[in-house]
Every structure is written in C-alpha cells, then in structure tokens.
C-alpha cells in the first residue's frame, strides 16, 4: 500500500502523531516536575488500578500518626503491615518490632481464636473486644474495629477501653456516695440545717452523676463509633 499517495491522509496522520508526541512530552514534563502523584496501571477493564506515589500518602499518614486511636493494617492471616505510633505506645513495643509480626502475638491466649475469626469474617463497621498483652506483661482491654478492607489487607482501629472503665468506676462511686448522703438526710434526729445540707449535697452529686453519664455516653460513642459486639461493661 502506498501511504504517501494520499496527502490528506498523510496530513491527518502527522497531526495525530504530533498530538501524541505532545502528550508524551507533556507527561514527561509533568512527571519530572512532580506535578502528578498517581498512575493508572494494568491492562484495561478490571485489571486497572491506581498506584499512588509516596508523597500522596504523606498528609494522610501524618493524621494517622497523630491520632489518639491505635491504627494497624494486617493481612487476613494477621501479620502487621503498618502500625501507628499510638498503637506502638499502647503495646509498649517499638513500631519497627511490630512490622511483619503477627497481631495475635500481642493478644492473650484466650482471645486469639476470637481475633482470628474476626479477621477472617469481619465486615466493615464491625468490632470485637480483646485483651492485648503489653511488652511488660500488663494487659490492656481494647476494642478492635474494622475500618476498611482492600487488597487482602484489613485496617483496624484500636481503642483503649481503660479510660472508659475508669470513668465508669468513678460514676459508680459517685452514685454510691449520693445514695449514702440521701440516706443520711433521712436519718432521724438530723436537724433542719443538716437535712438541708444533705439535700443540697445530694442534688449536687445528682448533677455530677448526670454530667458524668453524659460524658461516658459521648466517650463510648467516640471510642467505637461502631456497634459493639456486646454492651459496654460500663453499662452493665
């Protein structure tokens, strides 16, 4: 076939080639000047996926590193791929030591099977409570919630339940003190001033109780904006 015989067709081919060359040059320039931070890879259809350059993750990682919840990414078999500083602090183990280590190794023996099952079948927004074992042997009760699942990896949010437990205990102590003061106010022989003082103190404690309950409610919701597998021990 003599392709040069048709000048119009030749012009069209040159125009198309010129445009492709410009696009290729534009891409080279954009890449070398750092104007892109992601690429599409794969041969069409379902095989196509987006790869992000390291810089694209940086701000997200800064948020994750500074957040007050533990965050860890594990494979379905439970090997840790990434852990944030908070989770490292919760366990008292350096991040470098957590990398590629099994998450189960830091969970009490009796909770390991539950955690394994959770990792295998967890649905997004589900959660399980397990007890972690810290480096020094102390135990830490925490809620493990599935934040996301993709490419065979699960991202988990770990919430230390100890502050909630302490808050719940404080609520119970105040409720008990209030009961004692109410009883005192009903004691025969107490003069009017004493009864009035007991009544005032009881009312103050009732207010504090209500505020603590509200705080507890909010803290529980923040701790697991996810449904708990069972009622919080604080509510029992």
């Amino acid at each position: 076939m003599n392709r040069t015989a048709d000048p119009a067709r030749l012009d069209a081919e040159i125009t198309a080639l010129r445009q492709r060359l410009e696009e290729a040059e534009d891409m080279r320039r954009a890449i070398t000047s750092g104007e892109v931070d992601a690429f599409v890879v794969g041969q069409g259809g379902d095989n196509q996926r987006v790869l992000l350059l390291a810089g694209a993750y940086q701000r997200y990682r800064q948020v994750v590193e500074r957040m007050q919840q533990g965050a860890v990414t594990v494979s379905v078999s439970g090997d840790m791929l990434f852990a944030n500083q908070r989770f490292s602090d919760m366990l008292g183990v350096p991040i470098s030591k957590l990398f590629a280590a099994p998450l189960e190794a830091y969970v009490t023996a009796q909770d390991r099977a539950r955690l394994s099952s959770f990792l295998l079948v967890a649905a997004r927004n589900s959660a399980v409570e397990v007890t972690f074992v810290q480096e020094d042997g102390k135990q830490l009760r925490a809620r493990v919630a599935l934040a996301s699942f993709s490419d065979g990896y699960l991202t988990l949010l770990i919430t230390d339940l100890e502050p909630l437990r302490r808050l719940g205990a404080a609520c119970e102590q105040i409720a008990a003190a209030r009961g004692a003061i109410d009883a005192l106010g009903r004691t025969a022989g107490l003069d009017a001033a004493g009864r009035k003082a007991a009544e005032t103190l009881g009312a103050d404690l009732a207010r504090i109780c209500a505020q603590l309950d509200s705080l507890l409610e909010g803290a529980s919701a923040v701790a697991s904006h996810l449904p708990s597998e069972s009622p919080s021990p604080l509510r029992q």
Binding site: V40, G44, L52, Q58
Partner: protein, 103 residues
C-alpha cells in the same frame, strides 16, 4: 484553518472539561483548585467540570486513555485535548487549553 485555530474559544460555546483525580491526593486537590480558578478567570462561568475519581473506579481511565493523575481532558470544544499535571503553571494550562496561543 488548522485544528488548533479552529478550537480557539469563540466565547459562546460551553466548555466541557473532565478532570481525572485520584481521591484527594495533594496534586488532585491542587489541580481542581487551579482549574476552577483558570475557568472562572478565562471562561466566565461558561464551562462545566466533571471530576472523575479513579480511586473509586479505575476502569473509567480507559475511555480517555489516562495514565498519569491528575489529567485534565478538554472534551468540548473539539479537538479533544489532554493536560497532564496539577495545572500549577497557569501559562502552560492556558496554552494547553488553547485559551492562549503557543509562543
């Protein structure tokens, strides 16, 4: 008249632009912000921007043969033009969109 000359903005035709992004990466966010600014300054509301997040659906990259992100595609006016990058260089963005002649 060349294709380039034919596609110069005539001030009446509504421009249809498509920006391919990868979620909210810094370059994707910058590209959208820069694009909106350029459009407001040079197209005076006579445009529409469709943002396609390839993190959500990578298969959509096929239609415009997208490789690097962010990439802006000018669908209308014809001919189709692609500008790769975050559009931080306004001059280059304007030349790429053919709102300014190449010097």
């Amino acid at each position: 008249m060349s294709a380039d000359q034919a596609s110069q903005h005539d001030g009446n035709e509504k421009w249809e632009l498509r920006l391919y992004t990868a979620g909210q990466t810094p370059k994707s966010v910058a590209a959208l912000a820069n694009l909106k600014r350029v459009c407001e300054e040079h197209l005076a509301g006579n445009y529409s921007i469709e943002v396609i997040d390839l993190m959500k659906n990578p298969r959509l990259a096929k239609e415009d043969e997208i490789i690097a992100i962010p990439t802006l595609v000018r669908k209308i006016p014809a001919p189709l033009r692609k500008i790769i990058g975050d559009l931080s260089n306004t001059e280059r963005a304007l030349v790429g969109l053919q709102l300014r002649p190449r010097t």
